[in-house]
Amino acid sequence: MLELLYSPIVLILSSVSVIFTILYIREYVLRKKLQSEGEKVLEDYKEKGLETLHQSIQNSQNILSEAQLEGVKVVADVKYETSKLEEEYKKKLIDLINQSQQTISTSQSQLIQFMYDLQKRSDEFEIASKQAGEQKINQVFGNLESRLSDFLIQTEQKTISSIELELKAARNLVESYKNQQLKLIDENIIAMMEQTLNIVLAKKLSLKDQLELIYEALEKAKVEKFVV
């Protein structure tokens, strides 16, 4: 509802209606003013005529013989002038009304033309806006598609490299564990061998053999100059 109120077409139509109403009121006031001015002028002329007539009557009363004739003449002249003025006024008033009507009809036709143009421009603007919007949406969708594609490629590459790293680490871990276990097994083999030899030789090796080995060790220490 609010969107309808703020629509440019409605606003423009409302503005034109207001202008049209103002013009109409102006014309009406102007006509009324002219009419009142005409009536005032007519009233003035009437007053003047009556005054002249009164003077004429007075003059005619004062001037016995010529007064009546002159008075009638003046009255006739006044009547003639008055009717003439009334005719002129009527004519001018009619012209003015006609002129006003023409002006109003011209304004009306201009307003209609303006509204028509406005409607046309509004339609053109709407079409252009629609086309621009569609272009913009298409562009946005194009960009989005491109970025999404890039993002998916990057994500795939990162995932692959991450998996490769994980695999490498796992392989290293397995290798390290294997080496540790093999080292442990080797140490156990040597320890078992030492234990076996210890048990066997303790029983089998004679004192003479033991002493021979000790002499050999002492000889070696002497050769190495370990014991001086």
Binding site: D186, I189, I190, M193, E194, L197, N198, L201, A202, L205, L207, D209, Q210, L211, L213, I214, Y215, E216, A217, L218, E219, K220, A221, K222, E224, F226, V227, V228
Partner: protein, 158 residues
Amino acid sequence: MNDILNFILKDTYTLSSLKHRLRILKSVVSAHLFGGQPQGELSSSDSLWLSTLPPILYQQFNKNNVAEIFDDIESKINHFKTLTMYLPFEVQEDASKQIGDYVRKNFSSLLLLDIKFDPNLIAGCALSWNGIYRDYSLRSKIQEKKDDILESFKKFLR
């Protein structure tokens, strides 16, 4: 005093044996000079050894010098060079005598042995001289040849 020590050292090869013999000699001489019985019972080997000492040796002791002579001998013992020897078996006196003879013949006549038991050596011995330890035992040889032994073992397994 030197005669006493040299006489004792003639057939005494280990530090523990020397200390033991000095202790029993001191005990016997003190008992003889001051009366009473020697401290502790003497084993047959101790009695045998005491009987091998010449009478002239005993005559050098009197009540006034006995303590001084033994103190002097003990202080000299502390200055003797000692070769610590680790052996994989318990050494009897006979074996220690044979080893001691060999050492004195090949190194020095004043050398004392400090024999310690280490069953992990398997065979042979390890020596410690001036605070430096060196292993000449079969265990050390096995450790040296460990890679070759393991390689042979793996070949056998294949």
